[in-house]
Amino acid sequence: GESVGLHLPTLSVQEGDNSIINCAYSNSASDYFIWYKQESGKGPQFIIDIRSNMDKRQGQRVTVLLNKTVKHLSLQIAATQPGDSAVYFCAESRPQGGSEKLVFGKGTKLTVNP
């Protein structure tokens, strides 16, 4: 069935390295994508979003890339810091009767080693 998923459940990097977290989606009608960061015991925290009319969007230390041809989304974190350790979710927005509900993938756990 249609779903948003992540290729890797865990990712371990050294402090200062760049991190890349990948996500695949299957609904070509989706027009809005968001990356969330979730720390233990907390709700998801917005990182960055991108609309389907864009291929790339940059924030502070983060970049999201969208490849609509292969339905692939990635989050790049530059100079990864220990505070970046968390579970990262991509989410897909599927407009349906005005509802902007999000469909989340399972998440990738990022561990940053000092």
Binding site: K42, G43, P44, E100, L102, G105, K106, G107
Partner: protein
């Protein structure tokens, strides 16, 4: 400003009991969402309110689940005859009208024994 708040933060109840979970969205946000997150999984959509009305309740798993938002701000998720499978973290999110970023609360961890 204040973010989305949820109460209680933790709720332990016995199988078969009734529970209510509360969400206070960001002031002025007309859209409110409930999600459920099981251990090791991403949040799953339950219901969406635009103002006072439930615009999309397609994610509610069965008729034991019900949510209200009578004045267009605070929302209550109600679960009747709780089952052990209902144990999860229940997340609430709000956003301004229209598509855009959803701001999540810290969640309520529900444990059904």
């Amino acid at each position: 400003g204040a973010g989305v708040s949820q109460t209680p933060s933790n709720k332990v109840t016995e199988k078969g009991k009734y529970v209510e979970l509360r969400c206070d969205p960001i002031s002025g946000h007309t859209a409110l969402y409930w999600y459920r997150q099981s251990l090791g999984q991403g949040p799953e959509f339950l219901i969406y309110f635009q103002g006072t009305g439930a615009a999309d309740d397609s994610g509610l798993p069965n008729d034991r689940f019900f949510a209200v938002r009578p004045e267009g701000s605070v929302s209550t998720l109600k679960i009747q005859r709780t089952e052990r499978g209902d144990s999860a973290v229940y997340l609430c999110a709000s956003s301004e009208q229209g598509p855009g970023e959803q701001y999540f609360g810290p969640g309520t961890r529900l444990t059904v024994t």
